[in-house]
């Protein structure tokens, strides 16, 4: 685990589709017209509706399961990379998240994510002994354009044992 090193790379399970956008808008009752009204989106320079900016992580999420893989275990978590990075400690909490959007998400975009460790800071806290890890994630669409950057800090730690 070295600062600056790319530690993981993932690709979203599917291209962004109008149906996925519609379901997202429905579930969150989003009224902003460019997410649901193609005319309004065209009036603001887009080919058709755009995806909600906040749909980025959904678009970037790999599949939970694909043919040929082991059956999904009950209680499976979203297939983001945080739990697969071999960080020190048994527990992990996210302490801060920051998303910067550079380009709108369009129908047909497929999002690739690279995970880079920016900084690690060992620290003992009241919950345990561990390390703060600052990540920077870059999200690119398939033509190579950088569409968003995420800066996330997590604390990965081993909890103190309670006294017997």
């Amino acid at each position: 685990m070295t600062a600056g090193e790319i530690v993981a790379r993932t690709v979203g399970a599917e291209e962004i589709s109008e149906s996925a956008i519609r379901r997202y808008v429905e579930a969150h009752e989003m009224e902003w017209p460019l997410y649901s009204d193609a005319e309004a989106a065209r009036a603001h320079g887009h080919d058709t509706v755009i995806a909600p900016w906040s749909m980025l992580l959904t678009a970037a999420m790999p599949a939970y399961w694909a043919p040929g893989q082991e059956p999904l275990r009950p209680g499976a978590l979203p297939p983001f990379m945080w739990t697969k990075l071999d960080l020190p400690g048994s527990e992990m909490v996210t302490t801060s998240v920051d998303l910067e959007f550079l380009e709108p998400l369009r129908v047909g975009d497929r999002i690739e994510t690279t995970y880079r460790i920016v900084r690690t800071t060992p620290k003992t806290t009241r919950v345990g002994e561990g390390v703060y890890v600052d990540f920077e994630l870059e999200f690119h669409r398939q033509d190579g354009t950088l569409v968003a950057v995420e800066r996330t800090s997590i604390y990965s730690y081993t909890p103190f044992r309670s006294e017997p």
Binding site: A13, A20, R23, Y24, E26, A27, H28, E29, M30, E31, W32, P33, L34, A40, A43, H44, G45, P52, W53, S54, M55, L56, L57, T58, M61, Y64, G75, A76, L77, P78, T94, T95, S96, V97, D98, L99, E100, F101, P104, R151
Partner: protein
């Protein structure tokens, strides 16, 4: 939208966060972690009830800023967002924002303004989420 000033309140969002809503959200955002859709799983992890995920939090900030700023706006940033406590199913949720800074900025070659907003999520007397966000609007 009239040109905003520092200190202005953004039009707040209010909704009742039902478990049904969280299940709809999970189908749409593909976060099927049991703690977001199953009270029992959430309680096993120490929460009082099923609770919203971070993507739902981002999406409420998206709604808050863009529904206020109008169709010509661009969402530039959500964050840093701090999670202090659970955004719980079964409770009403209010999301509020206050303008903290206005900065001239161009986007796509057009002059405009970056509007920084301080955001807070409130459920009863709790503030489970606080943070910042930025939306750009073209010069009128």
């Amino acid at each position: 939208m009239n040109p905003p000033a520092v200190g202005d309140a953004v039009t707040p969002l209010t909704l009742h966060l039902s478990l049904q809503r969280l299940i709809m959200v999970s189908g749409a955002n593909r976060d099927f972690a049991p703690t977001h859709i199953d009270h029992e799983a959430a309680r096993e992890g120490g929460a009082p009830a099923a609770y919203a995920d971070i993507m739902f939090v981002f999406t409420m900030v998206d709604r808050l800023l863009l529904e206020w700023a109008g169709p010509a706006a661009l969402l530039r940033r959500i964050g840093p967002v701090k999670l202090h406590d659970f955004v719980l199913a079964g409770e009403d949720l209010t999301v509020t924002g206050t303008v903290t800074a206005l900065t001239p900025a161009a986007a796509d070659g057009r002059p405009g303004t970056d509007i920084d907003v301080e955001v807070a999520f409130t459920q009863d007397t709790r503030h489970p989420v606080t943070g910042h966000a930025r939306v750009w609007t073209p010069r009128p």
